[in-house]
């Protein structure tokens, strides 16, 4: 049985200054199919779906929707043609209610009461219950995604685009999402599913198009290939193997006890009674769905948030009330998740960016005076040791690619020879080569006798790196368990299970 193609792309191309984002991309999605678009960060997936959704106009090629030419001038035209999209970074308005958010995503929303009634009905029918009067700011990540999905469903889309939807979900929540998608597909909707997670694509998608450097490298049935084969297609070569050898757990370096902090902002998460010990030579992985206190925990360790005396102790040194500089001098270093704007100042040169953290330990600042020559030398050292691709230390941080800047940021901390290094999402949005380099550098640091804490939402990364694993859920840290022998299901339960999502029941 062949199903008619709902959507077809023929020879799509798009250029930005200096980049060919898409080149001669062709594929089609059939009615009732879940079609995966697979590729590394920067492979051109986002640009492609933005063109389908009318946010970007293609330079060449053409698109067909239900056999008709599809060339939307803006997202409203795309929606009118039957395209709906769930965004990776939610396109929601925090201060507005669920109903207002949904109304903004529709062309001709019904009157307020009627809309609220329909939201209640549709969300209940799909097993994704929502209260239309709630303000979005009060919703969890999973509930926010429901808002986006319901917004799409209310428009009876013929093509539904999902951009990395599971990156904010626990494995169980992801399974429920796929159950919903399958029921939707069974009703005849075509689904274009964007991801770089190989396992979920192999289990749930009917077909896949693999993009690399903006070009289609292969189209296949993902069920016929192993994850390793898919990864090779995506990256274009064998994955680098990580060397975990040669590490022994030593003495306790860092001890957190009774660490509690109120939420620093209205959207933030309070930390509740965090306790952990970190040994020399050990990598401790902390998993969790976004927004469960990861940023706050990193800030509490870096010194951006100060805590009560005795809550943070590094080798007998009480650092609870100490600020970032004191902690760095003592050997407790950190690398936050957000590269541009938190770990680095985008408009500063790499030389200037070394001064953000390396002043005390590398002698770049003496008596308040900046030693520019020393800072430049240190920047050059980091660039050389970590293979940062850049014209030189005078380049602005914003001019670097995500992977190169991440290598610089991690390198800047690692090369200060920390006693303990805390990193948050060390390989988020980074290409495979840079990710492997960053992970290896963390392992090497641990081998040299330092302690490393890796906070991440990427469970594969945590399993690959960490000796012990614990989960962060609503500001609480679970007891650590040895990573070896831990299954994804067990980890999912540690992360807080499915947050009460029900299976779709139509």
């Amino acid at each position: 049985m062949t199903k008619a193609a709902v959507f077809r792309a023929e020879g799509i191309g798009k250029s930005y200054p200096g980049v060919r984002a898409n080149d001669d991309v062709s594929f089609s999605v059939g009615s009732g199919r879940i079609h995966a678009l697979l590729g590394e960060n920067g492979a051109g997936k986002s640009t492609l779906v933005k063109m389908i959704y009318g946010l970007v106009r293609p330079d060449d090629g053409r698109m067909l929707l239900n056999g008709q030419p599809h060339d939307p001038s803006d997202p409203r035209a795309a929606r009118a043609a039957g395209v709906a999209m769930v965004f990776q970074h939610f396109s929601l308005f925090d201060a507005l209610t669920v109903a207002e958010n949904i109304a903004l995503g529709m062309e001709n929303p019904p009157p307020r009461r009627e809309l609220a009634e329909r939201i209640r009905k549709v969300s209940h029918d799909f097993g994704l219950p929502l209260n239309p009067a709630r303000r979005v700011v009060t919703l969890s990540a999973g509930e926010r995604q429901r808002v986006e999905i319901i917004r799409c469903l209310l428009q009876d889309p013929r093509l539904l685009i999902m951009d990395e939807p599971t990156s904010v979900l626990t494995p169980q929540e992801a399974d429920l999402l796929f159950a919903t998608l399958r029921k939707l597909a069974d009703q005849g909707t075509a689904i274009l599913y964007i991801s770089h997670k190989l396992d979920e694509i192999r289990t749930h998608c009917d077909s896949a198009t693999i993009l690399r450097h903006g070009k289609v490298v292969d189209s296949c049935n993902p069920r016929d290939h192993s994850a390793r084969e898919l990864a090779a297609m995506m990256v274009g070569g064998e994955m680098r193997v990580i060397d975990r050898s040669g590490r022994n757990a030593g003495d306790v370096l860092l001890r957190l006890s009774n660490l509690s902090l109120p939420a620093p902002t209205a959207e933030g998460t309070a930390l509740k009674n965090i306790a952990l010990t970190l040994h020399a030579g050990e990598i401790l992985g902390i998993g969790g769905v976004a927004g469960n206190g990861q940023e706050e925990l990193l800030a509490a360790l870096s010194g951006e948030l100060r805590s009560a005396p005795g809550t943070v102790v590094l080798e007998g040194d009480d650092l609870g009330g100490a600020g970032p500089e004191t902690r760095r001098k003592a050997g407790l270093l950190a690398a936050p998740e957000d590269r541009l704007g938190h770990a680095a100042v985008p408009d500063f040169s790499l030389t200037e960016n070394t001064l953000l953290t390396a002043g005390p330990r590398k002698g770049l600042v003496r008596n308040g005076l900046i030693d520019n020559a020393a800072a430049r030398r240190f920047a050059q050292d980091v660039i050389r040791e970590f293979d940062v691709r850049t014209p030189g230390p005078h380049t602005a941080a914003r001019a670097l690619s995500g992977g190169n800047l991440q290598k610089f940021v991690i390198g800047r901390e690692v090369m200060q020879a920390p006693r303990v290094l805390v990193v948050n999402q060390p390989t988020w949005g980074v290409d495979a080569g840079a990710a492997a380099a960053v992970r290896q550098s963390l392992l090497d640091l641990a081998r040299s006798g330092a302690g490393v804490i890796v906070i991440s939402q990427d469970l594969d990364e945590l399993i690959e790196l960490s000796d012990r694993f614990c989960a962060l859920n609503e500001g609480r840290l679970s007891d650590p368990r040895p990573t070896e022998g831990l299954t994804l299901d067990e980890i999912g339960l540690m992360l807080g299970g499915a947050h009460g999502m029900e299976v779709a029941q139509i």
Partner: protein, 358 residues
């Protein structure tokens, strides 16, 4: 169609060129405005920008250049530091007035005794007065989260009324035949801020302005605190990560710019103005905002921008005398200058490219 392409790094060449372009555009538009109003545009532009330096009356107006530029540069140097950190002190006018009052208060309290200590004490009092007035918005922001923009601005109106009250009440000259206004400090040698080198216009305020340029240059380019200030303005979270405490920074920037403005007020009241009157505030605090932007928040740039705007003040007065141009012309010029500068600034951050049409 044209479109804007963000630059990865701000263009150094345009950063230098845009202030010059803005001045040029202001002259052109200003000329147009004069023509519309029925004045000879060439004569008007020449009177404002050329004659004060090289015209017939230049022997009088040249020294005025330093007199007018000194407070502008001194105030703008302080403001620029805060602007760099994203801390918007727009109430320098109020800090200037209060600095003048507290400085004058020392002199009036000491009157008529003589002593080497009086003038230095006045400088300190002026700086402290401006500092304290600047610390009000700083503390209200740190404690309650109140916008320093609105509080510092409101305090200008309060300061203006304090000056009026002083001129009519506590500071009124007992020998002033009932006229409002304090004693004239120029006639009180121990407190006066005289011309140091005859014919140059240079008084102690000029020395202070020069020192302010040096100090702020050193702070912003060599000292870690200046680095932290720049980081806080560009990426506040990164600055906190580096160890900056936002509250401390707010207090430092508002306090410093307040102290600089207060000193400027003191040098003015002890020198060119001579006394506290109800119209002591003369707009230097607002014009200094333009000076800071035109100078690209850079100490050397501020030096040049301060001289240029001082020139427009003197030229404006000259044009008022010779061409009967309204006094407000200068204000319009200064406003336009800031508009053009902000507009042209686009060129430093974006490249203009032709849209590729399929």
């Amino acid at each position: 169609m044209i479109r804007l392409v963000p630059r990865a790094e701000a263009s150094a060449a345009w950063q230098f060129a845009t202030p010059l372009l803005a001045v040029l555009a202001t002259m052109l538009t200003g000329g147009l405005l004069f023509a519309v109003m029925g004045y000879d545009p060439v004569a008007a532009i020449r009177t404002i920008f050329w004659d004060p330096l090289f015209g017939m009356a230049s022997s009088y107006s040249r020294p005025q250049l330093l007199v007018k530029a000194a407070p502008l540069i001194l105030i703008a140097s302080g403001l620029a530091i805060g602007f760099r950190a994203g801390i918007w002190n727009i109430g320098a006018e109020g800090q200037y007035i209060i600095g003048g009052i507290t400085g004058a208060a020392v002199a009036l309290a000491a009157y008529p005794s003589e002593g080497m200590w009086i003038f230095p004490a006045m400088v300190i009092a002026g700086a402290m007065g401006g500092w304290a007035w600047g610390m009000i918005p700083a503390l209200l922001r740190n404690w309650f989260g109140a916008s320093e923009i609105l509080v510092s601005l409101m305090l200008v109106y309060v300061a203006e009324r304090v000056a009026a009250w002083m001129a009519f009440g506590p500071m009124k000259n007992p020998e002033g035949f009932g006229f409002p206004g304090s004693r004239n400090l120029q006639q009180y040698p121990a407190a006066a801020n005289p011309e140091l080198i005859a014919g140059t216009g240079a008084h102690w305020g000029v020395v202070a302005a020069a020192a302010a340029v040096l100090v702020t240059w050193f702070l912003m380019s060599r000292h870690i605190r200046g680095f932290h200030i720049r980081a806080a303005g560009l990426a506040p979270r990164a600055a906190r990560f580096a160890g900056v405490r936002p509250g401390t920074l707010v207090a430092f920037c508002l306090g410093l710019s307040g102290a600089f403005a207060g000193m400027a007020g003191l040098f003015e009241v002890a020198g060119p103005a001579g006394q506290i009157t109800d119209s002591f505030g003369s707009g230097y605090g607002f014009t200094a905002i333009i000076v800071a932007f035109l100078g690209r928040l850079n100490p050397v740039g501020i030096l040049l921008a301060g001289l240029l705007l001082a020139l427009t003040y003197i030229g404006g007065e000259l044009a008022q005398l010779t061409l009967q141009l309204p006094a407000a012309t200068v204000q319009v010029f200064q406003g336009m200058l800031l508009f053009f500068l902000l507009g042209f600034d686009l060129l430093t951050r974006f490249r203009i490219a032709r849209r590729i049409t399929a």
